[in-house]
């Protein structure tokens, strides 16, 4: 059990997807000031990561490895992810139209989010078991969401602050990313 918690904490905090592994940066820089959007995005991505991890684990261990065609993993993973996002998009559209409109273009963009393909690749290279993959994807996703939420809070102040013209927008957001990253180094001792 402690092993699972370590995997979870490692991917959520110590090796945080955004500030440490640089996975999932596009939504990070595009996140709005609204906490609810950041939260919805975070949940959506975590959900995709979780389901994708489970499906790709099965494909990896029961098909790819069994037939010795591990090199097909990239194609298989991305197709699984693309289909998954498509299905989730349809599901959200039918059940919660406000959420669908709130997420807008960012929902289909989850397909190209490095974090999703990233976690499937990490699961494969670390040779995690099924349950370990679950904890890993939850850790990665929730860590991603944490940063998004923190950023949405900072964004509010950032937009009205007196930033030098050259730094407005992307550069200052990057600096915030740097500071968050330095802060998260403090978690290093956990694992």
């Amino acid at each position: 059990m402690s092993n699972l918690i370590m995997i979870f904490l490692s991917l959520a905090l110590v090796n945080n997807f955004i500030v440490s592994k640089f996975l999932g940066l596009c939504p990070f820089f595009g996140v709005s000031k609204k906490l609810s959007s950041a939260f919805s995005m975070g949940i959506a991505v975590t959900l995709v990561m979780l389901i994708a991890s489970m499906v790709t684990w099965v494909i990896n261990n029961y098909i790819l490895i069994r037939y010795g065609v591990e090199y097909m993993n990239i194609i298989m993973y991305i197709l699984v992810i693309a289909s998954l996002v498509q299905m989730i998009e349809l599901f959200i559209k039918r059940t919660n139209l406000t959420l669908y409109n709130a997420l807008g273009i960012y929902l289909p963009l989850i397909t190209t989010n490095c974090a999703v393909l990233g976690i499937t690749l990490i699961n494969a290279s670390e040779k995690y078991s099924f349950i370990e993959s679950i904890f890993a994807s939850l850790g990665g996703g929730l860590g991603f969401m944490l940063i998004l939420i923190i950023m949405s809070g900072i964004r509010e102040k950032l937009d009205i602050a007196d930033t030098p013209r050259v730094m407005k927008g992307l550069p200052i957001a990057m600096l915030v990313g740097m500071m968050l990253g330095l802060t998260f180094f403090g978690f290093g001792g956990i694992v």
Binding site: V69, Y71, M72, I75, G188, G189, V191
Partner: protein, 182 residues
Amino acid sequence: MKDKSLKGTFPVVFLTLVALIAVGLLVGIDSITAEKIEQQEDQKIQEMLAEMFADMDSYQADDPVEDIYTIYDDGDVIGYSFETVGKGYGGDIKLLIGLENDKTTLKGVTVISQGETPGLGSRITENAFLDMFAGIDKSDVALSKDGGQIDAITGATISSSAVVDAVMGAISEKVQLLGGSE
């Protein structure tokens, strides 16, 4: 949504065709590269073993125990070697450990791969650190603060202990399998 009942199947056929071509191409590329990849792995191990055991003439994997390399010089066994993985600060630390023929004295430790902090934990790859393992008795494999012979790297205690713990664990496990004394 235009009604594509007549051309309905063409998109699917097209996609399937593309997918089949893609798979075919990949199978082809894989058959060319797979052998080379395996060769690379073997070569890497061989180079590392040769560096650790200067007198090495040949080696045999899985002999007498699985995952242990037996090192030969002209037919005589001169030592053993095995890999192990430690949990470092930045992920796995893969190590290659060399044991003398007496199954008690260490020949040396080589770092196969690591992802520690550059400039701090990554210094476990430096000779200054690894040389401390060469020639010591297996009972001395511990950090100085724990009574052993290995000085931790300043500012990289986690990486240093990860290596020490991994070496300690691997040795006690493999020596038992080799039939040596505790």
